[in-house]
Subunit: 183 residues, 2 copies
Amino acid sequence: MSSIQYVLLSLLAREPLSGYDMKQQINGRISFFYKISNNQLYPTLSKLETEEYIRLQSHERESYRPAKKIYTITDKGLDSLKAWVISPSEPGAWDEFLLKQYSSWLVEPEVMIAQLVERRKEHEARLEEYTVKAASLRGQEERIEAGHPLFSSIGVIEMGILFERGYADWCDKMIGWLRENRI
Amino acid sequence: MSSIQYVLLSLLAREPLSGYDMKQQINGRISFFYKISNNQLYPTLSKLETEEYIRLQSHERESYRPAKKIYTITDKGLDSLKAWVISPSEPGAWDEFLLKQYSSWLVEPEVMIAQLVERRKEHEARLEEYTVKAASLRGQEERIEAGHPLFSSIGVIEMGILFERGYADWCDKMIGWLRENRI
DNA sequence: GTAAACATGTAAATTGTTACATGATTTT
DNA sequence: AAAATCATGTAACAATTTACATGTTTAC
């Protein structure tokens, strides 16, 4: 099952929105790891409506054709969203985990702290792995020039190191904020 | 067109490998942003072979059934890979850009430097955007507790900030290494 | 003796992209 | 006068995931 329906529920859990508004918010705020197209958006919205996860709040018809359809989340939708947020994500699914954090305000902080502690471990382990790998690659030649394959290998591994360190640091930050109960 | 064929060519540009080996390398080194499944791997390999981007080097049959098929890249494959590496990536396609960097050792450093400078600008601009956004979200309430939607909004934006800063820093590092002609 | 690793491959189902279609309003 | 924005939606195509299929060897 894909995350798209939960992404839409995550946005509606905050405020009633139209499909168009949702797309704007997704493209403007979380586009670095999640993108959406019209073709997924509108059918998913219809599906969520017929299954009663969301409800049409108003159908504003302005001067021109397509009326703006504003949706609200139902209790069923909110329950389903909460269940998804606390459900464990696969190791490696850092993007799904981030998506869940966007609705973490809906659930008990203790549950989120426990999940973040787990994630931190995973990213720290991979940070260590990549660091060792980078050192071993560097050790293979005393001088590595731009035309050598090791140059690119190390370059990409360095991004992996930056990424894993960033994610681990972010987990730490989130844990700290949750414990203090303020951001 | 998807990146998978170029990922396989990128690996074969370094050394001859079997499909299984390629999968191991992908899962072990760049799995944080690129994943592959058997169903994509083997048909793509066949396609690359019939189109002469790669060639079967050996077909080692050991004691048990599936013989290990080791492939090498052809001149045509290498040319196609180089052309892909220097072709511009869409803004936002940070993963494809990283994939291209993995074969940057094959092309002129000047071309890569120019691309990295462009990328750096993009990520710096988005870093600025996210920083402003985070500040404005924080300014909405004087105390934001864990149960408040703003708590999660800021949390996720903070990851965006870390990500964009990380990517921009990495571009700087790469540019520096390319200019010094050593890593 | 059970599970994991080795090694290649296929089928079915889902998911996602690109392009199109409509049509008024606002900006360049 | 052209282009972009607003607003919803569909059709055709491409890509990806999940599960299956085979069968040996090595590790627990």
